[in-house]
Amino acid sequence: MNINYTKQVWAHLRQDPLISTISVLGTALSIFLIMLVVMLQQVNVAPYSPESNRNRFLHASYLSTASCQDENQSTNNGPMSEQATKELYSSLKTPEIVTVYAFLCRPSVLSVSNAVSFVAQTKQTDDDFWRVFDFDFVNGKPYDKAAFKAGQHVVVVDENVARKLYGDINVSGKDISLNHAPYKIVGVVKNVSTLASKAYGEIWIPYTATNLVSRSSGAQGLLSVTILAHHRTDFPAIVSEVNQRLTQYNKKLKEQNIRILSRNRPYDQEKESINYSSNEEPDVTGMHRRQIVMIAILLLVPAINLSSMTQSRLRKRIAEIGVRRAFGCTRMELLWNILMENLATSLIAGVLGLILCVIFSFLFSDLIFAQPFSSGTLTVNASMLLQPSTFALAFIFCFVLNLISSLIPAWRASHGNIVNALGGKTR
């Protein structure tokens, strides 16, 4: 039976090469673009190192404040002060870990003794940062709580920076000058893609080593928070705990005539991935709606095409179908048979589309995955693009495309009158 199928499919494909090429190309093109849409979403949402825990992340990048009296008064939006992170997030009971880090990477001037200096994107973090994000250490280790508390001048660098400084990656324990101050390298990690936007940096230092904390007023400052939950199911509990904190903190802030607006923070990874402006809540439903419309168009247009072609192809085989029916093949068997034949073609085309999509993503990663408001090197690797879900989704879309494109023609071909069919007439 299996051999039969393969032979049959191959025979049909060869019968009319032009039509077969059109069907395969049409399907492949559709799967290619649908998978691009999927991958665009995946690089922002799917887990990969150093953000392997994205499924368990809740982010609070910003904080919004307004004055206590007036509802419609102007709001102040931006990252938080250390005080606000402590009041709202640091001591939460439900999550596994909470990390506090600088909202933006800042450029730092790096140099060793007399060599020409260069700029590296610097992320200022606490020590828990290294437990929330799973960096790949190739040398040394992260800075610990003691170093963070004391504001020690210690730095973790990526391989690229290590090579630029010393021409080697085994550099922990060595000294460098960072913004004209002496620092000691404690660890070296693998380079991080800008797509892992929360973990991204070229070098990382404790935020207590600079004046970052002092650059704040009230609840506003330069810090953001990422919460690592034990499990996604804890999210509602964490949010309600945050809301309790918010109520308490707002009571304290009342004396200063300030009130914090929640805007339903913190956000999960998907919502955070479209969180471009601090003064409004990201519209996840809207994004989903746009994605659905996009995928529907990418499926429907080729489906109509394929459908009309399948129809024509079946019309040519009408006599064959009549013979099969006359020899006792049931309608359902025939329907199933035609659907399976088409599915085989769709799958071949789908694999082609997916391969094209992956090749394209690697070759043109800058064009495809460039994110707004980010600078630095964007890299993609197989672990980011080829998730198990990628293959599952590609298969599902192939299946759906096949179903909507061949169900009607197959139904009509298998439900025609036997006598007419034997005579080669469609009705």
Partner: protein
Amino acid sequence: MTKKLFNQIKNEWRSNLWLMAELLLVSVVMWFIVDYLYVQYSIYNQPRGFDTNHCYHIVMGTLLPSDADYNPSDTVQVNDVEELMDRLKRRPDIDAVSLSYVSFPYNTSNMWQPVTSGKLKRENVFAKNVTPGFFRVFEIKGARGESSDQLSKMLTGKVIMLSNDLYKDNYRVDMTSLIGRKFIAGGDSANISTLAAAYKPIRYSDYMEASESYSYIMPLSRTDISINMELCVRVKEGQDVDFSEKLWKDADKQLRVGNVYISDVESFSDIRKSFQQNDTNQTRNYIFGMGFLMLNIFLGLLGTFWFRTQQRRSELALFKALGATKGNVFVRQIVEGLLLLVIATIPAILIDANIAFAGLNQKMDGMTLTSGRFIITVLITWLLIAIMIVLGNWLPAKKAMGIQPARALHEE
């Protein structure tokens, strides 16, 4: 001929239904995309009012009291920053230097203030506080033809400069006619400035219209100067090949003033790219979508008419036997495809108009449905699909042309 073709289309309505459904769907989606791209392109090509070619943003940093090199006696940061500006000005490759607060184009931060004068009032005007060099760095020109140089000389004392179109839509007045009048920018009514000049409107970015980018310019107060201000420079033409590298070589020695140092040099082409990435991505997505739809039309037409030529072999042979030339056969088949498109376009236009009427598409001048734009975008859409129809029909039509009447009729 057209009437015969109509009959033919009617007789084959069942298989034409597929094609029409596809053409209708593609037509509507294509129009939406063409409309978006048309708006983006038109806005992109409007005058920007500034120029960031050869411009760079220099980020400053300062040593901390805990640092070894820190000079505790150097407490007045203004002096350090101004000295750094002077040193930059003296460099042979630099044309102009400016300091500003949330003012340079493609800015991720901004500040809004109301601007009022008597009855004239506009809320949410972008506030730009700058040093005189700002006009020369970004080549901002006066509405009465003043050069950047002349504008920068006028920015002294308690003055304000306004975008020429600030009150144009509400009060029909050009700012050039109000020069010398008193204005209040911000909530403080005691803070009165004299209008020194009006400048040609500065847009916020390439994809934001002038009507969304009203702005005013005031002198940056010396007391506000710190390393957190934006230090921008314009490099002389032909000098910016390795400007960053050259500047960087001197940054550690000549360009360290007291506790202030240079921590980064960003080119405006990078700032602009990063700021507009969302628009660029959106445009890219739509262009991909358009390519996809056009390819599908091509494949669909190719497939459908390939079958038709096979089916109509004997009819075509008869047509030829009755005296039709090869050209007749070819044209007939192409026109059949185009006629199908014409029929599908009629309901498509109705749907397009409804989408625009409901305001679901891109806004330009605050409108989504204007007759000129609608006609242009519908025509472009029709033409693009028509090209694909002709291309897709080419091969089958060629094949139909080559049918030998004698042989085909004999087979019959």
